[in-house]
Each structure stands twice: as structure tokens, then as C-alpha cells.
């Protein structure tokens, strides 16, 4: 009688390691973990695959006198095994994907935009300051520092991101947003710039990637919490970039 539980562990390590290596080989591992962790993930997954192969050669079965587990541990083990099977199957069968506007909305866009290593008010207040190199993260950081319209006067916003409807006025305001990530997707935080565009949903869908160009103005929305928003000159649909996340 084969020890099925023993094979369960090997199968899970093997499938997860193989899937991780496939993601790395196809350049998609960074959809899940930051580049700084990718090498470690690849090395350890390779070791995991090797260990599975070596362990699968074991033909002896080491039996110990183990008591029959009680009901609660048995149920927990059953739930754990079922979830493990479904999640592992999803890892293999579903195409890799980025986080969507649902998570951006759930985590509140710009609620935690970092201030370190981003554009500062002092830098951007200088007469010769240029906005051409500002990223979406820079704009989000500036928005957390001030909503004074005078500061944004004469500054052109250019940014690429996906559309997240504004929670308070989804009909008239959306964010051009992206996620920034420190370690892996679970610590992703959404950053973005609000855009006032009544009836935008007739032209675009949530999660569409767009290139935005425009300038800040008073937000004409009566229900949005944002005091200022970009009035767009152009909003052009684009393909999702190869590096959809911002890594910090």
C-alpha cells in the first residue's frame, strides 16, 4: 500500500517549483514577487525539484506507530488538503495575471503612497523643475503632500496605468493607477492620479490600460473626495506593459 500522504508533499513541492521556474523562464515571475527575490525563488525551486526527484527514488517505507488522528485534526487536514489541491491546480491551469482594479479599490488608491525616494514639493517648486520624468508614483506622492492647485499650475501630467473607478463618484471620476510592490503582490498598494471625465465608462472599461496626458484642475465632481483632478487632453488605450508593477 503506497504512502499517499508522503507523495502529497512531493507533488505539491514539485508542482509549485515547476510552476515557479516556468514563470521565471517566461519572464512572468515578477507578476508575483519583486525582482530582488526572483533569484532566490529560482534557486530554491530548482533545489526543490531536485529534492523531489531524489526523494521519489526512495523505495523503502518507514512506518511508525501513529495514533489515529482525532476528528478535528482529521477535518482540518482534509480541508487543508482540499484547498491545497484546488489552489495548486489553479496555479498550473490559470494564466498568470496582475492584480485588478478590485484590489486597487479595496485598498484605497493613494492611501499609503510612499514619500521616500519620490518627487518632493521642494524639487518640483523650483522654477526649472521638469515633470517629464515624473512617474505615477511621483504624482501620487505629490498628491499626498499637497492639493494646492497653484503648485500644479503649468505642470503637465503624463502617466500610464490602468483605470480604477473612483469609489465615491465612479460615473465621473476614475484613477489612472498602478500598484507598487516591496516584496510580493500581497503587499501591493495602489497609487494613481484622479481624472475627471463624466461618462468615461461609455468609452473605457475598468482595468483598461491607458496613456494619460492632461493638467490638474478643480475636481468638478460633487461627491468625489478628491479636491483636484486631472482634466484629460488625451486618454489613449494601450497594451498592458511588460512590467505592470512599480517595485520599491
Amino acid at each position: 500500500m503506497p504512502d499517499l500522504k508522503r507523495f502529497q508533499g512531493l507533488v505539491l513541492v514539485g508542482v509549485m517549483s515547476a510552476s515557479t521556474l516556468w514563470l521565471a523562464a517566461t519572464g512572468q515571475l515578477e507578476l508575483y514577487v519583486a525582482p530582488k527575490h526572483a533569484v532566490f525563488a529560482v534557486v530554491m525551486s530548482s533545489l526543490g525539484l531536485l529534492s523531489v526527484l531524489v526523494s521519489a527514488m526512495r523505495v523503502t517505507v518507514h512506518h511508525h506507530a501513529e495514533p489515529s488522528p482525532r476528528l478535528v485534526p482529521r477535518v482540518l487536514a482534509g480541508v487543508g488538503a482540499s484547498v491545497a489541491a484546488v489552489v495548486t491546480a489553479a496555479m498550473v491551469l490559470l494564466p498568470p495575471a496582475t492584480l485588478t482594479s478590485a484590489t486597487a479599490a479595496q485598498r484605497d488608491v493613494n492611501s499609503t503612497a510612499p514619500l521616500a525616494d519620490t518627487a518632493t514639493l521642494d524639487e518640483q517648486s523650483a522654477p526649472d523643475a521638469s515633470t517629464s520624468n515624473l512617474s505615477l508614483l511621483d504624482w501620487a506622492s505629490l498628491l499626498r503632500q499637497t492639493s494646492d492647485l497653484a503648485f500644479y499650475e503649468g505642470k503637465t501630467v503624463r502617466a500610464t496605468g490602468f483605470i480604477t473607478p473612483d469609489a465615491d463618484d465612479p460615473s465621473n471620476v476614475f484613477y489612472v493607477s498602478r500598484f507598487y510592490i516591496s516584496h510580493c503582490a500581497i503587499d501591493a498598494q495602489a497609487v494613481g492620479v484622479p481624472v475627471y471625465m463624466p461618462g468615461w465608462a461609455g468609452t473605457y472599461d475598468a482595468d483598461d490600460w491607458v496613456d494619460l496626458e492632461g493638467a490638474f484642475d478643480v475636481n468638478a465632481s460633487t461627491t468625489s473626495a478628491q479636491g483636484i483632478a486631472v482634466t484629460a487632453e488625451t486618454v489613449d488605450p494601450v497594451a498592458q506593459p511588460a512590467d505592470p508593477y512599480i517595485y520599491k
Binding site: S17, A18, A56, V92, A97
Partner: protein, 345 residues
Amino acid sequence: MTDLLTRTRPKVARRAQRIGLLIAAGGLAAVFVVRALTGDIALVDLPNAAQDLVTLTVSVMIESLGFVILGILISVLVQVWIPDRWIVKVLPRNAAARRVVISVLGVLLPVCECGNVPLSRGLIAKGFSVPEAMTFLVAAPIVNPVTILTTYQVFGFTDGILISRIVGGFLIANLVGWLFSQHPAPGALLTEKFAADCALPAEGDHDHDHSGSRWQESRDLFARESAAVMPALILGAFIAGLVQVAVPRSVLVTLGSNPVWSVLALMALAFVISICSNIDAFFILPFASTFMPGGVVAFLLFGPIIDIKMLAMMRTTFTTTTLVQITTVVALMSAAIGLMVNFYA
């Protein structure tokens, strides 16, 4: 029986090994093929929230996988290749001093908490007293280089989280060890069937067939450890993703911004998700922006020692009464340290 087969019919054994290798290699190749075929095809059109649940879960799994594999391999190294007498005989004779040294043994034996349960059982079998084994069991998941490294990687020295975790883990372990050393009959803390349940045999235990080589033992242990750890890892990753998707941020912010609730809520979360100490810092990172640092510290202290998975595993060794007592002490100490960080740090 199979070992007898290995000794008496080596050709059959080698053939069986080849078959095992071929099945594993074929299975892994099949994963690569399926992954390549399904990489661009949306077999099902998931709603955004469900898609994000999958993405978040897979993200935690990939981030954690390397550390779990590392932990299992080190566990194999310690349990199979390092003689137990190296550990037992170098310890001081004074009981308190022994516990202090034992509580930092995790630096040399950096296995996560799942691996610590069978290791502690083995240490008792090799001469550790029950309180000493408890001290190791409590301290090792926290006071070990992998956990310290990942906690540092995530938090650095921000808000004293790393220092509070290391010092707190050390203190709790020694307190637990000292309390149970006062027990008149420490042997009564163990389940009656512990000797029979013990996965690791004492030297000279002829009931266990160790005629196979250490390599065979290593392969077997890798399989058993991964079978114990991997489902818990995936379940923990799934619950972590589910909490992220399902619990409104406003609820988390409300709980997290209160000095007391931030501690209690994250301790409850640690108990439920049962995530490995090597990677729990990664898990709690997204909560760090909404929860007070004391809550994070309490999570990082309580979770590695007491959670659903660990209690189930420890029940194989300790009586229910003992586990209730350990849980109470660890919970009170974790909460106290977390509150101190919130109020004074």
C-alpha cells in the same frame, strides 16, 4: 518488508527506484507542458475579486516556497546528519543556564516551527528534559537566522519590531521553560503514548528499521516534512489572500489603529492562518501600514508558537492541559509585549 527487499533483491530495488524517478520526472515534465499550453488561455473568466484572490495566494506561495524548502532541507540535515550528542553534551549543567543556551539553539538548528515538533520529540528522546524541549520548541522558530533575516528584510529596524521579536521570543521561551520546570512531575506533561508516537527513535531503538542509508532517511524525511508543511503553507497563503480580498480596508484600519484591538486582532489572525515563522513577516507586511507596530510584534511572537496547525502537531506530544497552559502563558506575554510596544515604543 521493503527494506528486506532492498537488501535481498537489489536489482528489484534499483528497478523500483528507476520507476519512481521516471514517474516523478514525467510528472514534472507534464506540469511544464500543461503550464506552457495554458499560459495564455483563460480557461475560465473569473470575476476580478476571484482573480485577485488567485494572484495573491500564488504570490504568497511563491514568495514562501524557497524558505520552506530551505527549512525542510536544514531540518533533514539536523535530524539525519548531525549526531544528537553534539547538541546534548555541550550544554551547561545548571538548569537555567541550559535553558538559556537551548533557547538560542535555533541559531544552529534553523527549522521552522513545523520541523521543530518532531525535532523536539527527538531531543526529549535524546535526554532533554520536558521543560528544556519546550524552551527549544518556543524559541527556535523565532530565534533563528532565517526568521531574523526575513523579519529584517521586511521591517529593518523600523519601530523596534525586529528587536522586540527576538528579545520577546527569548523571554517567552525561558519563562515557559522555567514555569514548567517547577512542575513536580514533568513527565506527566507528555501524552501517555508519546514514546510510541515519537517519530524519531532513540539510539539503539531496534524497533525502527534504520538499515537504509542516511541518504534513504534523508529522502524519506524530505517527503514526510513536505507532506506536513506544504498543505499548511498553501492553506495559509489562501487565507491570507482571502483576508486581503474580502475584509474591507475600513475594518482593518478601525481595528489596527486601536492600541489594544490591533494587538488582539493580529494575534487572532496569527492563530487562524497558521503561517510559517520563516515567512510570516512577508505576510504581515501589508497590514503594517494599517496596524500599530505592537500588533505586528504580537503577531510575530504569538503566531510561530501557537496556532491551529502547531496545536494539532504539539498534541501528539503534550497533554491538552499542558497545551492550554502553554497557550495562556504565550498569549499573555505576546499581548503584554505588543501593548508595551504600542504604548511606549
